[in-house]
Symmetry: C6
Subunit: 190 residues, 6 copies
């Protein structure tokens, strides 16, 4: 069923964790990169903060293109579309920042994202990972969806104690400070 | 009469199913593709979610152009207009996603859409088909309009039981998970 | 007086019929086509639905340019301005669709519009003519303005019975399903 | 004083007549045409209807460029700015249409506008002059400002009877149906 | 202190006078002109009327470029930024028109503005100077800031009597009808 | 932890001081400059005044490019992104002006910003530094974050007396009138 863990590792898709009034949820972030003129499309009923998050993720990747082994002119020779399905559900906030960055790097490098990994964290223009809210609810929904590895911001480590022990022990948590660490754990090795 | 099944298979037109406060309705999705500079027009009093759906459909097609035997530069050498008649009636929601994708592929490949087919389902950037609401009302209106084959999302199969047996037995339902399946059943064979 | 039938057949102008809270009215649709860069201007305090109608009319004409004996690149080498006088009066709705299409084809082919013809009907991207509201009030105002031939959508034929017999018998009604029929009756023969 | 008749005939300026809640007023319409890329600026706290009026005036002039002895490419090689002073006062309505057209033709042909002429009337895309409201108040303000010739729409002739005889007899009224007549009376002969 | 008279004559800066609910204030108008593509930026929390004023000032200068000994293509080869500091304070109205024009001419000709001069007046597209409100309050604030020469619109001369005699006698007033006079008195001689 | 002083001097990042309803806070201003077409992106839920501040900072730097040893065409050959993390927190006001200017100059010259320096002050188009509000609260938060040098506007020197002596004595204050002084103290020497 949709909303459950992917059956195989995917390129250009990563799984984020959302926290809404209705509780936690998983969020598929899809990226499409096709030859074009440098247009960026952001769809899925995304709020302004989430759209700015996507821009920050993209700027970070552009500034590190060489290190990431991405053609530095990728931004001008392609149209990039980031879409978050369930298009009728409003989504906002900065916490999908590292997920959008991961989906973008995956699509640009053609390296798949590990299907068992979920993640949450704000990204800055320098690739720093900032803390987010709702870690408990996000983790429970990740667990329900069948994910087994959760990448979280280092500054959220202190919130792990709030998660029921049975769930916590069945998951692997990776606490990170920088996007480099996210990519290392989320992308399938070359 | 308008709103009834087409008299012949059409190129660039597909029939969607809508669910409004006033009940179910059929929706003709019309596509016009003419030489131009890559402008996309979306008209028919469409809400933002429906417009984003059209963008997702288009991005999916661009990313699969080669497999669909479509010139990959179609997007830059043409102006594309998607219109949904009864221009005074507001329309919204993601459930026309696969219908817009089908009308686009039909117009781009010059393959007609089977006139007896109606369809409903959200499309993602990867071509996945997500569940929608109002299946019962949509199906009843499709039946009234004379359609005989209804393409629905796999995740909506469980809702078929809510449709009156007399209607259900006079229709053929095709439950799909991916746009490839939609196209296979909706487009006239080559 | 303005609002009365034209004194001679005009190129680039067609007469539509409007239905407002204040009753029926005739509507001059004026089109100006001058060498330019492909800009489309829509003025006369037009609502969004009426503007989308103009876009649908234009897209239909572009897709049939060759058949209509119009240079297919007309859209890129000209600026097109559609204006509906009495600029302070708000206008909306899709029912001027076939009138805008007729005025455009007239201006592009340099064929005049018969001055005694009024018309009303929504246009789709395929040139289909859809039914409209307020036929009775529209017809009465057309009669007052001195028009003698009224083009209406086929699906509105059933509403003719509501028009007072004295008016109905002094007018010629042409019921159509497609823009081709509209043009055949509204444009002066070559 | 500003608001009184000009001291000499001016190029690129014409005097319109406005009708507001506070009564009638005269309106200087100023036009600046400088080498550029075809940008149109409309300033002076103008409402949408007045801006559309300016566009209609401009389109009419473009469509008649040759007959008016204006370089047909004037629109693409210049930036055109139409400004209506007393920038803090909101202005709207279509009745400055013929004044804006006159100021534009004056600026484009370098022919001055007679300083004693005021005018009011909506313009259509074909140069027709449509009736306006508030003729009495407009005329009184024109008289106060020292104007002696007033150009009015033919369809407003019936309203002249409402103007006090003493004022009416000291003014020359020219009733017109088309912009050609306006230009003939308002522009200084060659 | 900021808000007091400049220490030396400046290029690209002129002092305007504002009148707000809180009384009169001086306003530094800063202009930056750098090689670019013809972009105009207007910042400092400016209202629409004030922005239109800046456009009128710029159009006037473009139309008189040669007479002002400015390269007529300055507008296309530069980006122009007009900023009014104290960026958190909303500003509006047309009375900074001549100040913006003066700052622009100063920046474009590299001639400094006399530091002891303040000014207020609406500008039209022909360079005419129109009357403004709040002259008394503006003059008092100019006096407090250390300015000694105040340029005012000719039509405001009648309001000078409202200014306390002690202040009035310590200031030099220059009443003008046209921007040429403003520039003559505000710019440092060559 | 995020929000504390950086561990090493950074290029393209500077620390500002904010004053909100919730008290003082530090603000990381991040700048990314990558090859592009001259696009400026401003993200982090910034209000209009703060965005205009960024534009003023950029225009100042463009006008002083040569003196700052920056390629004068930097603006056209790069895309510039200014982001202020904690993307869900609204930010506004002009007081981050000098911080944005400092981060930009750092990024453009590749000179690092001293990690122990925080700053606050409005910037004008000429590089002048104008006074700001909330100095006491800003200073306390800077102290908490581990900063030791605070750059403030000269016109705010009088407010230093309001800061508790213990805090004031542990910090170095630098009162400035111009951005040149800010850069001198904030950037690491060559
Ligand atoms: Ca979900
Ligand atoms: Ca805790
Ligand atoms: Ca219907
Ligand atoms: Ca069920
Ligand atoms: Ca009418
Ligand atoms: Ca009936
Ligand atoms: Ca007036
Ligand atoms: Ca009367
Ligand atoms: Ca002040
Ligand atoms: Ca007085
Ligand atoms: Ca913080
Ligand atoms: Ca104090």
């Amino acid at each position: 069923r949709y909303g459950m863990i992917e059956e195989v590792d995917q390129v250009g898709t990563a799984t984020g964790l959302a926290y809404t009034a209705a509780g936690g949820d998983t969020l598929a972030i899809e990226v499409s990169i096709v030859p074009g003129k440098g247009k960026l499309s952001l769809t899925g009923k995304l709020g302004d903060v989430m759209k700015e998050s996507a821009q920050a993720a993209l700027s970070y990747i552009r500034s590190r293109a060489e290190k990431l082994e991405i053609d530095p002119s990728f931004h001008q020779n392609n149209d990039i579309h980031i879409h978050v399905p369930e298009g009728a559900t409003p989504k906002d906030g900065p916490s999908a920042g590292i997920t959008m960055a991961t989906a973008l790097v995956s699509g640009l490098t053609n390296r798949a994202v590990r299907k068992e990994v979920g993640m949450t964290g704000e990204i800055t223009l320098r690739g720093r990972v900032l803390p987010i809210g709702g870690l408990k609810e996000k983790t429970l929904s990740a667990h329900r969806a069948g994910l087994t590895t959760i990448i979280i911001p280092k500054d959220n480590e202190k919130d792990l104690e709030d998660i029921p022990e049975s769930v916590r022990e069945s998951l692997t948590f990776i606490a990170v400070q920088h996007l480099d660490e996210v990519l290392e754990h989320a992308l399938v090795g070359e």
